[in-house]
Symmetry: C2
Subunit: 219 residues, 2 copies
DNA sequence: CCAAAAGTGTTCTATGTACACCCATGC
DNA sequence: GCATGGGTGTACATAGAACACTTTTGG
């Protein structure tokens, strides 16, 4: 019959990134087991839940301008024995270019491909599965894909990002048409040369990012 | 720097119903102000958050088989001075037939039409606005409308429900075709007679309800 | 000149939208 | 028999899906 207080509440974050051509998730080892857990921080009285989630990602990666969205709040008795009762789960998207791995190693954290997950503690596998579902679902209607890419990118890179996350091949012409008609990215003056014909570089329109945030499908 | 514990956490529920041909929300007066608040209960160590939300609705309405879905978790410093810091918000749909108003009166609670909201405390207006947005959004792709109706209903009643919530007129033939093709309701043997030609009564297919729950767009 | 990736339009299909009349009953 | 709400089909527009070749560069 004890009341529930903030010491019973934590924030957990599912951090996605693209690395070595795979969608990966940041995990931390749990002491005294060979299981891994989603990184988290206890909730605090001074900061909002979203600020705490951002802090958690920054502490591990050094990034503080990231895409962050609340997922769901888990609160069943005994879901995390010996840890907080209530987890407010977020998911985050991190641009691959910006993985300063020093802090990650210090925290003994590591990236794991989503298709080769190690054993996770408690209900964290469930949280991860849900985060992945939401990420895929969100890609289909809101074009958050570029949050995983550096500031400028080619349309092919963007398409490969989508294909990796959705796990299926997409038609090049249809993909380009849809993305460009949505008006969320614009060409820059740059080009990327490599093998083959050089590609136009694009960036997301800052005002489009503001529009998407203003829509707030989830507040 | 005090830690946050369960005493800082509550569940709030936005309970919708149809009554007198209007979409209404259940509110409770806040002592010592002329403002109203969303009904809620403190989180507990013995029950899941969803169970607590269900309990909260049952305590006021006597109903325990209702549609319930987690909305969002609000946790900003000072968002609810003199009350819990963190609110896990749910929304609930209640069949209009089942409004036993005794308990509601005992709790001094009352139904308020969504288009004539009184002043709400703290950020509860924001929570309500979001709940309404999610309800409308959800109607468009998942046919939860019948949760607001009694066990059997006519297609016209269902359409009126949709029109009330969405705030726009719908085409009768298109509405019927879409709902029937979705396969979530089936005709019963009953008919409703009143003025005009008697109407076929429908019920939702119990297995379809199970399917929808299995899909779990939000876990 | 050839390998390698970038870039570009059109046809077809499916889905959604607009729209008007007959039907069964109670009074 | 008439007023009242219940029930039905079709033509059109729009959005999405399938599909193959030319272009530009580096080696």
């Amino acid at each position: 019959m004890c009341a529930i207080t903030l010491a019973d509440v934590e924030v957990r974050v599912v951090v996605f990134t693209l690395w070595e051509n795979r969608l990966q998730v940041l995990l931390r080892p749990l002491d005294s087991t060979d299981h891994w857990s989603l990184p988290g921080l206890p909730a605090s009285r001074e900061h909002s839940l979203e600020e705490t989630a951002a802090e958690c990602v920054e502490a591990l990666t050094g990034q503080n301008e990231i895409y962050l969205e609340q997922l769901y709040t888990y609160g069943e008795p005994d879901r995390q024995p010996d840890s907080q009762l209530i987890s407010v789960a977020y998911f985050a998207l991190l641009a691959a270019s910006s993985l300063s791995s020093d802090r990650i190693e210090q925290a003994q954290a590591a990236w794991h491909p989503v298709d080769q997950m190690p054993e996770l503690v408690w209900d964290h596998a469930e949280i991860l599965t849900y985060a992945l579902r939401r990420l895929r679902y969100k890609l289909e209607y809101s074009a958050v894909g570029f949050e995983l890419l550096p500031d400028t990118f080619t349309l092919s890179e963007l398409q490969h990002t989508y294909e990796l996350i959705l796990g299926e091949k997409l038609d090049k012409r249809n993909f380009r048409r849809r993305i460009l008609e949505a008006g969320i990215i614009e060409p820059t003056s740059g080009r990327r040369s490599g093998e083959g014909r050089p590609a136009q570089l694009y960036q997301y329109r800052p005002d489009a990012v503001a529009e998407v945030k203003a829509r707030r499908l989830f507040p």
